[in-house]
């Protein structure tokens, strides 16, 4: 039925099977749309966000997907600027994953701000001293860059390519992709950093506050480093998942190994700096605030296990796995290392977003817990559903993997 749209020389499942595959993702998307409608129609009272938790599940999700989506800009940087040719075999996948992450995050923010019709206020009535304004500028502009990087992939569809005008336009965009990749790198560098910076400048909250260099707290640099360490791992993880589901070899091992090695080294560097930052914070900012390290880990479920999990289990361990050539060359260890790396970054974003707000800062404050409502979960899960749908459609109809034909001719 849709065989004319499927890339030449590759096999895809039947339309019926594909439709069945999309059903759970359509279900998640439907749940999200109902939740979004309720939040827009009835207001943010549909959530469990309060004056204590102005940042909640959606922001944790946003920060996590933006960090995980960093694989797009970083792989683009390595491919087009540094010249790692082997990454051309995985760059399309990285771009699509990045586009899904950023468009999902922006859509979620549209609901989070409560009045999406006034979303443009942040550009027109900008507070030029706000890290959040910088984040908004960079995320939206970078989403545009990702769209431009995605368009040539769409224009490579078998039927679309028959239209000469579109094929030429796609080729011409492709030819100057290095310019877009460089712009994307610049924008990503600043919004990943500013997302960290906005926590680091919370001087009234000693749990998150940090010293730093000039106007940038250390969290600015740590967020950039953690994003470029975890982003490539997420790209590997998603592409490996596609390989498992389709039971095909889609990307040569060399591309996976290059990304895994870079991810491992960056994670190791991040771990060294994160440990130094934690020690500096525990012996600097914390005593200056009249507190001790353990004061932050004694209430609710947020114990010292968070530090052990984030730095030890999901930081040092995956860094070791990804740094040992024999380990990362074994598929199971590679997947485990990447999965742990990504879990670590999600945990880090959760700690900075939710735990920061949960810890009381005033003598009259009390510990307040937060559990998301089904509407909050619905919108978050919709991003996953949307991601699976868009990637599935892209995989089915677009030549994402240039070596697919070559790797599966047996």
């Amino acid at each position: 039925m849709d065989s004319v749209l499927i890339p030449e020389g590759v096999k895809r499942c039947s339309p019926g099977k594909f439709f069945l595959w999309t059903l759970p993702w359509l279900g998640l998307l439907g749940w999200g749309l109902v939740s979004a409608f309720l939040c827009l129609y009835k207001g943010l009272n549909q959530t469990n966000m309060t004056n204590y938790f102005a940042f909640a599940l959606w922001i944790v999700f946003d920060l996590a997907v933006i960090a995980l989506g960093a694989g797009a800009f970083f792989t683009g940087f390595l491919t087009y600027i540094i010249g790692k040719k082997e990454l051309k075999d995985i760059i399309n996948s990285a771009v699509i994953i990045g586009f899904i992450c950023y468009s999902g995050a922006v859509a979620m923010l549209g609901i989070d701000i409560g009045q999406p019709l006034r979303g443009w206020f942040i550009f027109w009535h900008a507070n030029v001293h706000s890290m959040l304004t910088e984040v908004s500028f960079c995320i939206t502009t970078y989403l545009g860059v990702l769209l431009i990087e995605y368009i040539p992939i769409i224009l490579e569809n078998r039927k679309i390519e028959e239209i000469r005008e579109l094929r030429l336009f796609g080729n011409n965009l492709h030819e100057i992709m290095a310019v877009f990749a460089a712009t994307g790198t610049f924008l990503s560098f600043f919004h990943q950093g500013s997302l960290g910076g906005l926590f680091g400048v919370m001087y009234a909250r000693p749990f998150a506050a940090r010293g730093g260099f000039y106007i940038w707290p250390w969290t600015f640099f740590l967020f950039i480093l953690s994003a470029i360490a975890a982003g490539p791992s997420f790209t590997i993880l998603c592409t490996k998942l596609v390989e498992k589901i389709t039971r095909k070899k889609l990307v040569p091992d060399k591309a996976f190994q290059t990304l895994a090695k870079i991810s491992g080294w960056l994670l190791a560097l991040y771990m060294v700096l994160k440990i130094a930052d934690t020690i500096g914070w525990a012996y600097g900012i914390v005593p200056k605030a009249g507190l001790t390290f353990m004061d932050f880990y004694k209430e609710g479920p947020y114990g010292v296990w968070l530090v052990i999990a984030e730095i030890g289990i999901f930081g040092i361990v995956p860094a070791i796995i990804l740094l040992i050539p024999k380990a990362r060359q074994t598929e199971g260890w590679l997947i485990a290392g990447c999965l742990m790396n990504c879990t670590g970054i999600v945990l880090n974003r959760f700690v900075f977003t939710v735990v920061t707000l949960a810890i009381p800062v005033m003598p009259f404050d009390k510990f307040v817990s937060y559990l998301p409502t089904w509407q909050e979960w619905g919108i978050s899960m919709a991003v996953i559903g949307y991601g699976f749908l868009l990637y599935s459609l892209s995989y089915r109809y677009l030549p994402i993997f240039p070596k697919e034909k070559e790797l599966n001719t047996a």
Partner: protein, 53 residues
């Protein structure tokens, strides 16, 4: 925010913040324009077509 509206202030903060935003948007816009112009030239036969596969 554009430099000719009343909220704009000619200080370093506004110039850096919006300068970089407009620089990024300008590069992206220019890139698309160059690609579009090249496409038109190729369609009219003034430039040669290039292949990337």
């Amino acid at each position: 925010m554009l430099p000719f509206i009343f909220e704009w202030q000619w200080n370093v903060d506004h110039i850096i913040f919006f300068g970089f935003l407009y620089l990024a948007l300008g590069i992206v816009g220019l890139g698309i324009t160059v690609a579009a112009i090249k496409t038109v030239f190729q369609l009219l036969g003034f430039m040669r077509e290039r292949h990337f596969h």
